[in-house]
């Protein structure tokens, strides 16, 4: 998918979890992405983050780091 569309979708998820109480937003974004995004979408997100993560919400970037960590250890 186009990077713009991916960034838009990821940021939409972040926007929701940002409004939720607590301080575990990045974890919850990571959990949502792992639950609903297919691996090649996560790969694309990872590649985008590695390339600088243009346009992505900071929380998405932290969430992505957690997912990448888990996927590496799996």
């Amino acid at each position: 998918m186009s990077p713009e569309k991916m960034v838009h979708m990821a940021n939409q998820i972040a926007t929701f979890f940002k409004t939720q109480p607590g301080d575990d937003q990045a974890d919850r974004i990571a959990a949502h992405l792992s639950d609903f995004w297919e691996p090649r979408m996560l790969d694309q997100l990872h590649a985008h983050v590695v390339a600088g993560g243009a346009g992505l919400d900071d929380l998405v970037i932290s969430a992505e780091a957690r997912i990448a960590g888990e996927r590496e250890s799996a």
Partner: protein, 969 residues
Amino acid sequence: MKDFIIPPMDSKSDRDMGTPAKTGAPVTLEIDGVAVTVAEGTSVMRAAAEAGIPVPKLCATDSLDAFGSCRLCVVEIEGRRGTPASCTTPVAPGMVVHTGSSKVRKIRRGVMELYISDHPLDCLTCAANGDCELQDMAGAVGLRDVRYEAPENGSLVNHFEARNTSGESNPEWLPKDDSNPYFSYDPSKCIVCNRCVRACEEVQGTFALTIQGRGFDSRVSAGNADDDFLGSDCVSCGACVQACPTATLQEKSIIEMGTPDRSVVTTCAYCGVGCSFKAEMNGDELVRMVPYKHGKANRGHSCVKGRFAYGYAHHKDRILKPMIRDRIDEPWREVEWDEALSFAAKRMRGLQEQYGKKSIGVITSSRCTNEETYLVQKLARAVFGNNNTDTCARVCHSPTGYGLGQTFGTSAGTQDFDSVEQTDVVVVIGANPTDGHPVFASRLKKRLRAGAKLIVVDPRRIDLVKSPHVSAAHHLPLRPGTNVAVVSALAHVIVTEGLMDEAFIRERCDWDEFQHYAEFISNPRHSPEATELLTGVPSAELRAAARLYAQGGNGAIYYGLGVTEHSQGSTTVMGIANLAMLTGNMGRPGVGVNPLRGQNNVQGACDMGSFPHELPGYRHVKGPEVRKVFEETWGVEIDAEPGLRIPNMLDAAVDGTFKGLYCQGEDILQSDPDTKHVAAGLAAMECVIVHDLFLNETANYAHVFLPGSTFLEKDGTFTNAERRINRVRKVMEPLNGYADWEITQMLAQAMGADWSYSHPARIMEEIAATTPSFAGVDYALLEEKGSVQWPCNEAHPEGMPLMHVDGFMRGKGRFIVTEYVATDEKTGPRFPLLLTTGRILSQYNVGAQTRRTDNVVWHEEDLLEIHPHDAEVRGLKDGDWVRLASRAGETTLRAKLTDRVSPGVVYTTFHHPDTQANVITTDYSDWATNCPEYKVTAVQISLSNGPTDWQEDYAAQAAQARRILPAAE
């Protein structure tokens, strides 16, 4: 003679009991020496029927309140004077009734004699011969002679002879009205029993019919004297035809084909109401569909689609032979099943070898049965070896799954449809039941006429807002895209004015999360006054609506795709759940949260594990214990990572990593948003297998076409919006040779699977064995009970009409913070108007079925509704061709000026492929589920000369792609 055989009192009997059943304290009386006990308020007629004593009747039928006009049902009651009508006389304790005294027999004969004196005696050639209550009653009362004659030299005073013997025309005679495509009205056979008029009022709630004139001049009339049925308000639901005791209102199919000789109870394949019907057959020919009075979803009612629009099953466009082609620019080649299946299997396996295991997937159908859907997702998971399965619920109710799952713990409506009868305040949000779910709408309107209050939250002034004898207490005409702001404002009023049910919240919900939520929602930025500018909803009206919902008694919310199909669809669903929890409107009859499902088996398709992230029963694929259940049953390893959703499949196809698709019973090219993107995705695939009744739009891009079977041609189950599992029964052999479940099985076998299901019942056994909420479901139980509502298991062996009665499925109900976030689809100078989409009564979804029936007389093209103010500034008149453009694309259609829509908002339907409303819709989607944002698109409108280049190119490509080579001799 059928009325004289006392049938056993079984619950499936079709016997007409004369007046509706009542509930109340038991009352015992004696009828013709038989002691009978019935509920207080029951009529003497019904009590007699329950004792097995049929009292002759004409104007009474048990779907309508007693009327007492025909005087045929008179009886004698000891201690009472005269001969009261048994239909309008309620039972009393100790009453002694005689239904067959010589006195009442004489009266009945006299009444019948008068009726027959003004009725043609053409019984042998009458369409209702053998199915006519007038004929039956003439026999029952022993009428042998009609003494009334026209006086010598006097005028001919009857309604049924067009001319007298001298050839003079009879001014009292009226010709047949054949304007409705499905039934005819023959005034010459009318006995003015009022049943049709009452059915239109009491059952359907349209009030299209009336009795015009008085006494001998009384005539049934659809509107004014010069209106015909088609031109009237009639919605062709068939209730009047059903109620008519004679041939006056008669199905044209009966007139053409004769009366049926057998019937099979089955389930309608249109909307999510899931009405039960009797398919009445003559040999293997379907003569008519009649609503089944014991159907628990519809209680004997129907709409124009289920009742009449089944002709597509035999339409000439239906494809009955499998077809293949190497490339989509080639014409189709008809082949045998073996060749088509091995061609498909080889291609799909080849794609997996070349591009990887995850390069292919499936789309299951919400129009197919549970068993078929289960097999299609199993095909992906067990045979393809991936989780690339999705269903069209993705584009309609996926936010319901997510939102209700998060708040209540399960993805389903909380009530049965009967629940509406105990509702005091109905809130309809983003749904248009009179068009989309007509039979439920009739039940709802009946409750509204009995005094329940109605709140409508919708950008359009839908029919429910104001229609005969129904008017909404509050209509909140919000600006498309501001659902969350409106729902939050309602919650704000409830919380800040202290209208919540604190006892319920403390007992049933997570109190800490409620505290967070209450603090959040109390913030003045959520107040109706603060959001008014944004939502366009007057704050006073919104406050009044919130108070009514919170304080008006049993409050029930019904919602539709106007809630889900938004960037914040899931958030709105959570907001709705919050409202129900705040007010304690959960867990008893008359309340709850009720998603109205679009297609017949949306609920079932979701239940059956069609989504790429969850196995049947809503269990995420990441759970090893869940995978184990299926791995052991299927003997394969299941991928632990979620698969692609429909929009993701199309994106991946454009990217070149998704190459093959098996699409059963869906037309994604027409129904999914951003048509150009869908077309690009399909064009990029190397093997598209379309399994459908017709060469639909998606098939223009297909390499394999597998002809499907209709719901009349197979066995299985559908699950409606109430979670009700209803049987679909085969009434005729599949014209294409195989039921759809067999075709999926053959494809699986061609790809190497060892499936050997012999009947859908075997598939249901596997579903029950693997899925806890279906553990108790089997065909024998469905046969016995008629239907069951899941969960059906050891704890609830007969299913569960109401959910969350003693507590939420997830334990404590969870309040979730719902912050409004404006969609990125914004109006501006280029696209200043907001387009929202919907549907119309006579057409269904992409129209593949209904466009191939006479329903087109009501809606032959999609129109653009536009407010006269917006039209005027653009120089548009009613009926003008207009160009409708968004950033995604443009199309043309004709304008309809109406103040149903607010200024700034335009509306259209998506039933016709030549309009392709989805060329306009964008790729924005719900944040949680990717459900497309169909309901908000910024558009511009201008005058146009005709179809756009795109429409012409599309039509040319479609014509090219639909060519079929003549079969080789």
